[in-house]
């Protein structure tokens, strides 16, 4: 089971590596969206500090959606997905592996590049760390929930837009807790930890239910 998981993760990473442009696209999208706000709003330190958490998280939500549509689509078109449905292992293993690869390609780079946001918005070290931590905790949930949406909209015409409409509302808890954690870190003695716990709980919950839901949706999509 573990072996299949590893094979699929490394397969997806290798595939992405051979189509490098796509990974960079997510990253650049994130950076560009983040950079637009100070340009539009001005460089007042107080305002930037206020909006930084929200902007960073909204940009992360949108960026992580960019590649979602492709999560299962390529495998669906060339018939690999059919083979994945017929593996002697539970389909959830396949789904988890694909989600894991998606996170490594979209979530993790965002976490790593987020200090750049902190720099642009003149955040202190503490807020920078809390931004990285909240993204680290929350982005896996984004990939997982996104996978459910990608599975549900597989093979539909105009699936991309439907996918956004379906998934963005489900991202709201991550946005609230994630941005909340960063905001709380600005204020001394604020209950920052509570936000991390809620965000973590949200991620754990999505990991527990997501693979099952996405598998069911995939089986339906391939009928």
């Amino acid at each position: 089971m573990w072996r299949l998981f590893k094979t699929i993760v490394s397969r997806d990473l290798l595939l992405a590596f051979r189509r490098r442009a796509e990974i960079l696209m997510t990253l650049f999208f994130f950076v560009v969206v983040i950079s637009l706000f100070p340009l539009g709003i001005g460089t007042d330190k107080q305002i930037l500090l206020r909006i930084a958490p929200g902007v960073a998280w909204v940009a992360a939500l949108l960026a992580s959606m960019l590649l979602l549509e492709r999560l299962f689509a390529a495998d669906y078109l060339d018939g690999t997905l059919e083979q994945m449905l017929l593996t002697p292992q539970p389909l959830s293993v396949v789904v988890m592996a694909k989600v894991c690869a998606h996170w490594l390609l979209t979530g993790l780079p965002l976490v790593l590049i987020s200090p750049l946001v902190a720099l642009q918005y003149r955040l202190g070290d503490e807020q920078m760390i809390s931004m990285m931590l909240s993204l680290l905790l929350g982005t896996p949930a984004l990939s997982m929930i996104g996978a459910i949406g990608a599975a549900l909209t597989l093979g539909l015409r105009g699936g991309g837009i439907l996918l956004s409409l379906l998934i963005l509302p489900l991202y709201i808890p991550a946005l609230i807790y994630g941005a909340g954690a960063i905001t709380a870190s600005v204020v001394a003695n604020a209950p920052e930890q509570a936000y991390y716990m809620l965000l973590g709980a949200f991620t754990v919950l999505s990991m527990a239910l997501g693979p099952w839901a996405a598998s069911a949706a995939l089986r339906l999509a391939l009928e």
């Binding site: 072996r3 299949l4 094979t7 699929i8 397969r11 290798l14 595939l15 051979r18 189509r19 390529a74 078109l77 060339d78 018939g79 690999t80 059919e82 083979q83 994945m84 449905l85 017929l86 593996t87 002697p88 292992q89 539970p90 391939l222 009928e223």
Partner: protein
């Protein structure tokens, strides 16, 4: 293989409706070890649908499919471990080399052969010298061969092949015929469709014509 002995895939009273059209109704068919079921019929009569139903990829509107007397829906993965399905689409990634493609499709079948074995298999499939080239550079027929190379590695009891002879040259057709008859002779079972007339010399050959 220990349990290459006697197994039976049985479908009873299958009915399949796509849109407003009834593809087939009340269809019953069974395949046992050492048998080859040859599905024939014009385009659009539901050959692929029937194959997908027999694999458990598609749930027919009515009827039951069972493996050794147990419904395949209930045993799921246990049935999949006995099954090798090669569909219309090649399941080949153009970015990967034949070697990588074969390794991944084997992993999905639950097999992890060593690289030496994979090289040997690709050579048998007539892809010598192409093992390390991105599949994008291969011809249609060669891509098809990459997909079919799985047949040399996988000794699942039940092979379900959708149009395996499409786009193959004479040599490959012959190779495939040989692999299939060898599998049947080993008391495996094969279900395949084709609209070409390919002579399949085999004792357990049975034909089913759909759409008549």
């Amino acid at each position: 293989m220990a349990d290459m002995t006697d197994a039976v895939l049985q479908a009873e009273g299958l009915t399949c409706i796509r849109g407003d059209r009834c593809l087939f109704s009340g269809l019953s068919v069974s395949v046992r070890s050492g048998e080859l079921l040859y599905l024939q019929g014009a385009n659009g009569v539901g050959k692929t649908t029937l194959l997908r139903a027999l694999c458990g990829l598609f749930h027919p509107d009515e009827g039951q499919i069972s493996w050794n007397g147990r419904p395949i829906k209930a045993i799921g993965e246990e049935f999949f471990s006995r099954l090798l399905y090669i569909g219309h689409q090649s399941a080949i990634k153009l970015e990967f080399t034949p070697l990588e493609n074969l390794r991944i499709s084997c992993a999905l079948d639950g097999l992890y052969p060593e690289d030496g074995v994979l090289w040997h298999v690709l050579e048998r499939a007539g892809l010598r010298g192409f093992e390390d080239l991105p599949a994008r550079m291969l011809s249609q027929g060669q891509k098809k061969r990459v997909g079919l190379a799985r047949l040399f590695v996988n000794d699942a009891l039940l092979w379900v092949l959708d149009e395996p002879f499409n786009g193959l040259d004479a040599g490959a057709v012959e190779m495939l015929q040989e692999v299939i008859s060898r599998h049947v002779a080993k008391r495996g079972m094969v279900i395949l469709t084709t609209h070409q007339e390919v002579p399949l010399a085999s004792d357990g050959l049975r034909c089913l014509r759909l759409g008549e």
